[in-house]
């Protein structure tokens, strides 16, 4: 996993609420047996019309918007547990998703792939979305060490589990940690029925 420190970037506003993982990566693209190429199909049915032409109204196709921070409506990542959604967002180039609420499984999947979910208040989100729509070139700074997000509308802090923060900063994953606890797990197994 790539190490995460500070991301300074323009951000793409996507105000839709309840964006489910079926929208992030539709099921018909889940037939792959590796993690590659999902970025090409992120938000596939919102980005492209059925005839394959680009949907000009969709934020990712708006030439004014760019950057590796996605700012999305409330309850982002609900629905299916497919980690392919995180692979697709990372594959497309996103490093940070900002929302006022994240679904549990998606949040875990994102963290396991070096994609940082930044949860802000509904008020901050509303202001940030409006600001970005008016000022697409405005930059957003996300600092994991300090747990802050900074933009023209102000600075806010966000929560992250200390353990996960350490993992993100150092590029570690849970497998290494769990395997290092093998003896404890064996001891537990011996008494667990």
């Amino acid at each position: 996993m790539e190490k995460f420190t500070i991301v300074t970037s323009r951000a793409i506003p996507l105000p839709t609420e309840n964006i489910d993982t079926d929208q992030i990566i539709p099921a018909r693209f889940l037939k792959a047996t590796d993690k590659l190429g999902f970025g090409d199909n992120v938000f596939r049915d919102w980005r492209f019309h059925k005839d394959g032409s680009a949907n000009k109204d969709f934020a990712l196709n708006n030439p004014n918007y760019s950057g590796n921070i996605l700012v999305a409506g409330d309850n982002f990542g609900c629905g299916s547990s497919r980690e392919h959604a995180a692979w697709a967002l990372v594959g497309y180039g996103f490093k940070v998703i900002v929302s006022s609420f994240f679904a549990d499984i998606f949040k875990g999947n994102a963290l396991n792939n070096g994609l940082l979910p930044v949860q802000v208040t509904e008020e901050y989100l509303k202001k940030l979305l409006a600001h970005l729509q008016e000022n697409p070139t405005s930059e957003v700074i996300v600092n994991l060490e300090e747990q802050t997000i900074e933009s023209a509308i102000g600075k806010a802090t966000f929560e992250i589990n200390t353990y996960k923060k350490t993992c993100m900063i150092n590029g570690y994953d849970d497998i290494d940690f769990l395997i290092s606890n093998k003896d404890k797990i064996k001891a537990f197994e011996a008494k667990h029925v």
Binding site: K31, D34, K50, G108, N112, D174, I175, I185
Partner: protein
């Protein structure tokens, strides 16, 4: 202070607690399928890590399998490769696989309970969000991502932060024709799609106590649709009777010992939940959804609400519905009875009971997909297959099918499908498809009428299974 059912099962599985961090939770059973496991197998292989406990894993092929001509080679090259990779991975690692065509094959959340793999007090995971289904047995069961599948492969454990506790109480008498599916659709419509996020939910009250195991599975299945990682119902005599005698269930004295333990699991009277709701069973009616998330549900007789909200409007626009309109008499060309929510024998009994002596409407394409080979067999043995066939229905072979439309079972663009599945997201049942979630009774009634009808008027004369 007393403990909740969730606390008791969780605490019994904590291997270690990291200071200011997550806990290491031991996993008793790991279910896998073809879609979310290949990358996890690859990861371990690349890192040279062996699978810790293959004996605690069970595999099936369900998400990406055809529901017709299962005896023939799978046509889609990518699907075929995914299925072959599952077989190879299972063979290489000594993992039992109930693959396509196997007599125990079926949807992962249908086969584990019917084989007795699912037992009270366990921790169970699967790379599928509807793993919450198994909570019906008083289990901590939840969906995980593929990185976590790899973690369980490597260690039989997961690193987790203990979720908050939530209890939803439903008491009173359910009206005739109100099925477990209506109960959970009602709960989600009332509480909202993110009301459960961060929580593990317990369902309590006489409604659940009186429910069959299959009904409880339908309810717990959709816990994730209100954001809860899982849902649980306290194990009781109904649970013990269901588990007893199943293939992988403990036998004889061992079973009795287990029952004695399972009886200690229900939530203590003085336990306190972080959040608690009380709902009245008498207020619940047959439900349908009108939007693009499962929380957008109404009583079948109600009109679509008129909210001024851009996400709400986007959703109605996708569905081509208008604010304030009623869905009664909407013509429907597709009906799907299946999925891990509603593909068990009781669901088909309800549907068969309704269609008996009637005929499927000529405009309707109805896909009846049993949850497993065992359910399919039972449908035939109970004579339900004849009932369906006489009414103009065709049964397909087991699998997830049109619930997520990974295989060829796709609803065409722009068409409505009254579906017993769990998600009405945009394009969920095929690009541009429009899903209306409902119970097997409402689905069967729609298939016969060719349009949505007010089943509440009919149920009075109906003997429901």
């Amino acid at each position: 202070m007393g403990k909740t059912l969730f606390d008791k099962v969780w605490d019994a599985h904590v291997v270690d607690t990291i200071e200011n961090g997550p806990q290491i939770l031991y996993i008793d059973k790991h279910l896998i399928h073809e879609v979310t496991s290949p990358q996890a197998f690859n990861e371990l292989e690349q890192r040279g890590i062996p699978i810790a406990r293959p004996d605690k894993i069970v595999a099936t092929a369900d998400h990406n399998t055809p529901t017709v001509d299962q005896h023939l080679p799978v046509k889609d090259a990518l699907s075929k490769k995914q299925l072959e990779q599952l077989s190879e991975n299972c063979k290489k690692n000594n993992i039992p696989l109930y693959g396509l065509g196997h007599e125990k094959n079926g949807i992962v959340h249908v086969i584990a309970p019917e084989l007795g793999i699912t037992q009270p007090g366990m921790t169970m995971v699967c790379g599928d969000s509807h793993t919450s289904t198994h909570g019906a047995f008083g289990i901590i069961a939840f969906g995980i991502g593929t990185s976590q599948v790899a973690q369980v492969f490597a260690s039989q454990c997961l690193l987790l932060q203990k979720p908050k506790s939530l209890r939803v109480n439903v008491n009173g008498k359910l009206k005739k024709g109100v099925l477990p599916k209506d109960v959970i659709l009602y709960i989600i419509a009332k509480l909202g799609t993110n009301s459960g996020t961060g929580y593990f939910c317990e369902y309590a009250g006489n409604v659940f106590e009186e429910m069959s195991m299959e009904g409880r599975m339908t309810v717990c299945n959709m816990s994730i649709e209100m954001g809860a990682r899982g849902g649980m119902i306290a194990p009781d005599q109904t649970t013990f009777d269901y588990v007893k005698g199943r293939e992988e269930a403990p036998k004889g004295e061992e079973f009795d010992k287990k029952v004695a333990y399972w009886k200690t699991l229900p939530t203590d009277e003085d336990a306190v939940f972080d959040q608690e709701y009380w709902l009245d069973a008498a207020d619940i009616e047959p439900m349908i959804t009108y939007g693009t998330n499962p929380g957008m549900g109404i009583k079948i007789t109600e009109n679509i609400p008129a909210l001024n909200d851009s996400s709400f409007e986007k959703s109605l626009n996708y569905m081509d519905f208008k604010k304030g309109e009623s869905l009664i008499n909407k013509p429907i060309n597709y009906v799907f009875i299946g999925s891990c929510t509603n593909s068990r024998i009781e669901d088909f009994r309800v549907a068969a009971n309704y269609v008996k002596g009637k005929q499927k409407a000529s405009n309707v394409n109805a896909w009846l997909v049993p949850g497993s080979q065992k359910v399919a067999k039972q449908i035939a043995e109970e004579g339900l297959q004849n009932v369906f066939e006489e009414a103009g229905f065709v049964l397909r072979q087991p699998g997830c099918s049109a619930c997520l439309a990974m295989n060829d079972d796709k609803i065409p663009e722009g068409e409505y499908c009254v579906s017993t599945s769990n998600r009405n997201f945009e394009g969920r049942q095929g690009q541009g498809s429009r899903t209306i979630l409902a119970s097997p009774l409402v689905a069967a009634a729609t298939a016969v009428a060719g349009k949505i009808i007010d089943v509440t008027k009919e149920v009075e004369s109906l003997e429901l299974a």
